[in-house]
């Protein structure tokens, strides 16, 4: 059922965008020209604006819901950590208290990795970051796009007993975290309905 629905949607999106895709180049040129103009002459109608997207291409990507998988600076393996008996909340502190979970800082990682597995190449990378006084620039895996205007709160979900894997996939099998589950609105609604939770729009969108 979902498969068919999504297909249908994507077809319609393709149809709509094909029409304007050819004009996309024009838009860029035109936009740049307009900016140049406002910079050069400050014409009476010149406005200070920033488009919602840095490039037209990124706007198109977002329109099609296209998000490449992130490339992490360190090949952190969830599998090994979980296999060694760690729990999600040990590193992702606060996930059961508030909207977001912590991504542990170098300090946190180094509490163990000063002594554990210091010879592994990835740990050496971590140590190098730490010694430079830098935090590892982890890349976001999940997270809603700003244009979704969604406010997600982890804590009530965890209190309600939703398993982490429901939304994040089975982390015991993942090495580097990948976007295993597509967080579409249909995905959220389906679960909310099953659990008889509010599906009112402003429950999430505000």
């Amino acid at each position: 059922m979902l498969f068919y629905r999504r297909n249908f949607k994507s077809w319609i999106r393709i149809a709509v965008v094909m029409g304007i895709a050819g004009l996309a180049g024009l838009v860029v040129e035109h936009g740049l020209a307009a900016q140049d103009q406002s910079a050069a002459t400050a014409a009476p109608e010149s406005q200070v604006f920033t488009p919602a997207h840095p490039t037209v291409w990124s706007a198109v990507q977002e329109f099609f819901n296209y998000r490449p998988q992130p490339v992490q600076p360190i090949q952190f393996t969830h599998k090994v950590h979980l296999a060694n008996g760690l729990q999600c909340v040990m590193c992702h502190v606060g996930v059961d208290q508030g909207p977001d979970a912590r991504i542990p800082s170098d300090n946190f990682c180094m509490t163990c990795h000063r002594v554990i597995a210091t010879d592994k190449p990835e740990i050496k990378k971590l140590t190098a970051y730490f010694n430079r006084g830098e935090d590892v620039p982890w890349q976001r895996v999940y997270g809603f796009l700003p244009s979704a205007h969604v406010k997600f709160n982890h804590a009530p979900h965890i209190r309600a007993g939703v398993d982490c894997s429901k939304c994040h996939g089975d982390m015991t099998k993942q090495t580097v975290a990948v976007r295993a589950v597509d967080h579409t609105m249909g995905f959220c609604i389906e679960c909310h309905q099953q659990r008889n939770v509010s599906v009112d729009c402003v429950t999430c969108h505000y």
Binding site: S38, A39, A42, V48, T50, H53, P54, V71, P73, V93, G94, Q97, G98, P99, D100, A101, R102, P104, S105, D106, N107, F108, F130, G133, E134, D135, V136, P137, Q139, N153
Partner: protein
């Protein structure tokens, strides 16, 4: 290209660059290891103090984790840190009880202001050009210490001057101690809106030299003489809270507010009765009310005590102020005066307040004394429902600090600088902006230009600090250790203190710390007089004696006391207790009915100029905050600009329409602003908001609107040093089309248009 356009474009490109940086790890800034691990999305609340006006409200700062672009060890990068997200009133605080005025809430933007000075600067171009180059803190402090030690070695410490905004609490003591340690004259306090006249009058009438705390919440009748106590005067949040209780907080009882002023201010707009009177005659009006009360035997003259005897003719029942004479002088109908006097006398507790323009005429002190006498006659001095006096906290920093004496006034300082070459060799500026906020005729700028060395500790480049040779930017209030000791708004003794609510965003340092540092660099007596390593140590020392007082914090050992005080955002006494009233020090001060004097002849300069502080920009020190620019003025609804307020009849006579560019000229200069026609202003008065018209004060305030202070006459209130800023007469003429930005009530054709049939 205009500067503003340039600023906009640079902002634009900055934003674009930031957007480009997302997504791709290579393009990202490095991330620093956070100093503490915060959980994102969870707010913590930290107490703080509002420093934007003298009210001294207590705040709670909502701090949440966020990514800030910061410079650490000379490198730009991202840091996960606690960021202030919102300012709210501290519910426990006796002054503001959890409420906060619009200006206080916008204080957030001081911290995040894009044009804040981010790092120490040294002048690189000619003075006043605004060209600076970035230096390290070491270089900057060395330069300052060098100048100071040069003065010391030449025994020229008296040639050092400091200009500060009005200060209180430990910070005042510390600066005083610093000046004393350097054997320099005490700092000169300067602000456009300064409660000096009211404080002087209170000292003369009642004893305490501080503005009154109006206990409106218990009064039934409030007479306000010019005091915009709901907007900007004194302690607006405390007064607003009390006003709310006066109006609707007591079931079945509703107090009445009567406001006397030639123009509708925010307070006048809320008054049950707004009674316009001639500018400067508020004192005569107050005494006329007294006259009626005495005449009709509503209260005996003796009730007024010392405050009454100060007034000439009091014992005789004020024969010069019978309502008919007063009508001629003030323009208020005699019948109205009689009615109001009767209402006030029969609806006690009643209270009278004088402030703002009423005390900014040459007759200001007399006006304030007259209102004090009225208060005393109404039996409201020092009583619930009347005026109370806060037993304010005066911290002690040890013996050195005690030596600091009151500083001179700004005009005196200007005179001193002008008195000869190098009469003042070095000047330290602590955030005050006298070039903007003093009349051009006082020649502050010309004087400052003569000073060989100026150091500024402000956070922004304004008209004054642009003249500085070295700028040592202070932390924003939210990043600093703060303390305060409010003198009004509550009858409790309040000692406020707050630790920094967040880490500094920029490469700034707290000014007290810099001063301590400099003192230690100078060594010798200066170092021993200021023994503390950092400002918080000094604060702790100053607060220590309070541990043994009866107050909001009880603790057994000093450390516990200190941590509890910080947690609560301060210490305040357990019970409300007004200072005793009665022992006025004055005798015969301005006792004779002083008619107000004005600058400029009535023929050539037909209108009184009434400058007023606006709800949003205050005295101009908040004009740089975008929220304050965009929030419409409550009465005029003007955004992003200033205006000349005219009575429609006057405007018609002068051929001026709404939005026309109007020139307002005094004997000392002229300014131009668009006209705003408002019914709530006397026909012989034009009013202009203070606050706009900055030449250089960040991208949001520069070259916007007009500054009426510039054209004021340098007259003082008789009997004090305070500027009589309402004593200038002006002429008004249309000079062309203008633009006025209104949020509401935009269509001026409206009232005629909504006619029926």
């Amino acid at each position: 290209m205009e500067r503003r356009d340039f600023l906009k474009i640079s902002a634009l490109s900055g934003a674009a660059a930031a957007l480009d940086a997302c997504g791709n790890p290579e393009h990202q800034l490095i991330r620093f290891i956070p100093e503490e691990d915060l959980t994102p999305g969870i707010a913590t609340w930290k107490p703080s103090v509002c420093t934007l006006c003298p009210a001294g409200c207590g705040m709670l700062v909502r701090v949440m984790q966020g990514d800030a672009e910061v410079v650490r060890k000379g490198q730009l990068g991202l840091l996960k840190m606690g960021l202030a997200k919102k300012l709210e009133g501290n519910p426990a605080h006796p002054v503001n009880e959890g409420k906060l005025c619009p200006r206080g809430q916008a204080g957030l933007q001081v911290t995040y202001h894009p044009d804040r000075i981010r790092t120490p600067l040294v002048r690189s171009g000619p003075r006043g050009s605004g060209q600076f180059k970035e230096v390290t803190w070491d270089e900057a402090t060395k330069q300052l210490a060098g100048q100071l030690s040069a003065l010391a070695s030449g025994k020229q410490q008296d040639r050092l001057a400091m200009v500060v905004p009005p200060l209180r609490g430990v910070k005042k003591s510390l600066l005083g101690a610093f000046a004393a340690a350097l054997k320099a004259p005490a700092p000169v306090e300067f602000a456009f809106l300064d409660g000096g006249v009211v404080a002087a009058a209170d000292a003369a009438s009642f004893g305490p030299a501080e503005p009154p705390t109006a206990d409106l919440g218990h009064s039934n009748y409030v007479l306000s003489f010019g005091a915009d106590f709901l907007g900007t005067w004194n302690s607006p949040v405390a007064q607003s809270l009390a006003y709310g209780r006066m109006r609707a907080g007591r079931p079945g009882k509703r107090g009445k507010l009567v406001h006397f002023e030639p123009r509708i201010s925010l307070t006048a707009g809320n008054a049950d009765e707004w009674i316009p009177c001639r500018p400067g005659t508020e004192g005569a009006l107050a005494l006329s009310l007294c006259h009626v009360i005495l005449r009709d035997k509503l209260a005996p003259a003796a009730d007024a005590g010392h405050a009454g005897t100060l007034i000439e003719g009091w014992a005789q029942g004020l024969p010069d102020f019978d309502p008919e004479k007063a009508e001629q002088q003030t323009g208020v109908p005699a019948a109205t005066i009689v009615r109001i006097a009767h209402e006030a006398a029969t609806h006690q507790p009643a209270v009278a307040l004088a402030g703002d323009s009423a005390t900014a005429h040459t007759s200001g002190l007399f006006n304030a004394l007259a209102v004090n006498a009225l208060n005393a006659l109404l039996g409201s001095a020092g009583k619930p429902g009347g005026i109370l006096f806060t037993p304010a906290w005066t911290p002690s920093l040890g013996k050195t600090a005690e030596k600091s004496q009151a500083g001179g006034t700004l005009p005196a300082l200007v005179k001193r600088i002008q008195s000869g070459p190098d009469a003042v060799k070095a000047l330290l500026l602590f955030g005050a902006n006298p070039v903007f906020a003093a009349p051009a005729a006082m020649q502050v700028r010309e004087a400052l230009e003569k000073v060989p060395f100026i150091a500024s500790f402000g956070s922004f480049i304004d008209e004054t600090s642009i003249l500085a040779d070295v700028i040592l930017p202070d932390h924003s209030p939210l990043e600093s250790w703060l303390d305060d000791a409010p003198v009004s708004g509550t009858a409790r003794t309040v000692a406020k203190v707050a630790a920094p609510a967040m880490e500094p965003v920029h490469n700034t340092r707290g000014t007290p710390d810099v001063l301590l540092d400099v003192a230690h660099q100078l060594g010798g007596e200066a170092a021993t007089a200021l023994p503390w390593k950092s400002y918080d140590e000094a604060l702790k020392a100053a607060f220590a004696p309070l541990q043994h007082e009866k107050g909001s914090v009880s603790a057994t050992d000093p450390d516990e006391f200190w941590s509890k005080v910080r947690e609560q955002g301060g210490w305040w006494s357990a019970e409300e207790k007004s200072l005793p009233v009665g022992g006025g020090k004055g005798s015969g001060v301005a006792a004779t009915a002083a008619a107000p004097a004005f600058d400029g002849g009535a023929d050539a300069y037909a209108f009184h100029l009434l400058p007023f502080a606006t709800q949003m920009q205050y005295d101009g020190s908040l004009a740089h905050l975008p929220w304050m620019q965009e929030a419409p003025d409550p009465l005029s609804t003007v955004m992003w600009g200033s205006w000349v307020e005219l009575n429609p009849a006057t405007a018609k006579k002068l051929g001026i329409e709404q939005g026309n560019l109007v020139e307002v000229a005094s004997q000392h200069g002229s300014v131009r602003a668009p006209a705003l026609l408002a019914p709530g202003i006397a026909p012989d008065v034009v009013a202009m908001p203070v606050g706009q018209g900055h030449e250089s004060f960040t991208r949001y305030a520069s070259e916007r609107g007009a500054n009426p202070i510039a054209i004021l006459a340098p007259m003082t209130v008789t009997g004090t040093d305070a500027l009589a800023w309402a004593a200038t007469r002006v002429k008004v003429a249309r000079v062309g089309e203008g633009k006025i930005i209104l949020f509401g009530a935009r269509l001026h054709e409206m009232p005629e248009d909504v006619k029926h049939r």
